[in-house]
Amino acid sequence: MTLLLPSSPLNVVDALRGDRAARPLANLTSASGLRAQLEDGIYEIIGKSNPDSPLIVRASSLRQSATTTDLSFSAIGRIRGVLINQLLRLHCVGEHVDNAFEEAVDAWRAEVGANELHSRLEQMDDDERARLATDVTAHSVTLLRSLGPLPSRWMPRSTVRATQRLAAGNVVLRDVIDLMMGMNDAHSACVVLLDVTTSPLDEAAERTMRYHALVETLRTSIVPLRTSVFSTATGELWSAGVDHELLTRSCHEVLHAVDQLWKSQ
């Protein structure tokens, strides 16, 4: 017999919070070194030339591989991802969700209006739409059950955007963090980053985690406490404390992505 517990013994928020007493001191010095490392690396790649348009690096640039096809990049996969993100945003502000699919679509409509993905959703026949609704509902159950309540004192905010210009604007790092909690503090590291994906976790998810930490460090000049990724497909959570090694590794990955983008121009 299979028993389904009403909630997992440890939810994602508890795991992200960790042991308050064990938090490291705020690292206020790494950002400039990382920026210099990126600037030097970009100069080695593009030299003095000016690309026609800026090379834009996103978390997805680090995810894509030339040899594999990720189904999460299909239109349906992207729509599912967007809708789960809307549900996360609603959960973040304490909204109770009864009908996950319809409410996520409503929220999405309010956010963007008409776009290509939205038209795709509108063009779906009843069967396709019902399949997507079931899929979104299943993912949302995993998400909301695992996440747990988000305490207001953690100042949760969703879809936090970041942009960093490097090499005199020739390279732009863009990022959107699905959920950010904690506020920057001059004394100890407090900010936690969470990426929510509807795909199973793999090496690319690790790169995404590191990328979020790097862009956040460059944006605020303060190293965040933890960066994490949660899969609504498997209910897995990967979380890592942010240190200099993790950030340096992400710098290398960003430079590799810049190199690929430059070669493809």
Partner: protein, 268 residues
């Protein structure tokens, strides 16, 4: 000579920009106001025009008509929520945002909100769409809280943006401002911006600063006007010098000229 400064956004850099703001008060007098009014009157307009830093940054090019959305509503609700948190520190930002939205909805339900107002738009939204508006407002209010908490100087939240009606020119200027920092006798204005600064961010800041000086009862300009782009981690500032105020006024008039030309082109 421009006084535009570019810094990374950290609490130390923000405090340093406030600390190093120029001493001495620069004021716009009646002659300056009359001269500006004459220039705006020279740009004929059949309808009442509104000019702000956004139209200056877009060089007067027509933009899509304003409509409420989660991103256009976030500043109004976020600032009001931040004001509530500042007056009641035991309140969390999320609660303050909910209270603010509830108040706006109550106003709309009681018939006090006029058509097209934020309250009336909110009352037309579905439950999930309201949640999304709250999420955006919470992000805004948190960014503002982070900026304000790091300040070493006393600050206050302005009751409203700066508005200045140019006499007999059918023109209203609007200067946005999110925090006023008091340093001795002078004031430093901070404006929170979304996204990343573009090439015209400097003229935009100068316009906001000029409008703030015009709206001041004695015409006193802020010692420094700081634009804060948290998403890009950037601070830009301009000083309240007479040359910057003149440049700001010129940009505002030029924008009105371009707007008029665009209207004439559409009419033709």
């Amino acid at each position: 000579m421009t006084t535009l400064l570019h810094r990374r956004h950290t609490a130390e850099q923000l405090n340093e920009l406030i600390e190093s703001a120029p001493e001495g008060l620069i004021a716009l007098n009646d002659d300056h106001r009359r001269s500006l009014s004459a220039r705006f009157r020279g740009v004929a307009s059949n309808e009442h025009r509104r000019v702000d830093a956004w139209s200056v940054e877009r060089a007067g090019q027509p933009s899509t008509p304003f409509r409420w959305g989660p991103t256009t509503a976030r500043r109004t609700i976020g600032n009001a929520a931040f004001r509530r948190v500042a007056s009641k520190p035991e309140l969390w930002i999320s609660d303050a945002v909910h209270h603010e939205i509830d108040d706006l909805l109550l106003r709309a339900l009681s018939g006090s909100a006029r058509a097209g107002s934020l309250g009336s738009w909110l009352s037309s939204l579905s439950h999930p769409a309201l949640g999304l508006v709250s999420a955006e407002a919470m992000n805004w209010a948190t960014q503002l809280t982070e900026a304000a908490q790091g300040l070493d100087y006393p600050w206050l939240i302005p009751a409203s943006d700066a508005y200045y009606d140019v006499a007999t020119a059918r023109t209203t200027l609007r200067g946005r401002r999110d925090l006023i920092v008091e340093r001795d006798e002078s004031r430093i204005i901070i404006r929170l911006r979304a996204g990343a600064p573009g090439k015209s961010a400097g003229p935009g800041l100068r316009s906001d600063m000029t409008i703030d000086a015009l709206a001041h009862v004695d015409g006193i300009a802020p010692a420094r006007f700081i634009g804060l782009w948290p998403e890009a981690g950037v601070l830009l500032s301009v000083d309240g010098t007479m040359s910057d105020l003149r440049a700001g006024a010129r940009d505002l008039v030029r924008t009105a000229v371009v707007q008029r030309r665009a209207r004439l082109a559409i009419a033709a």
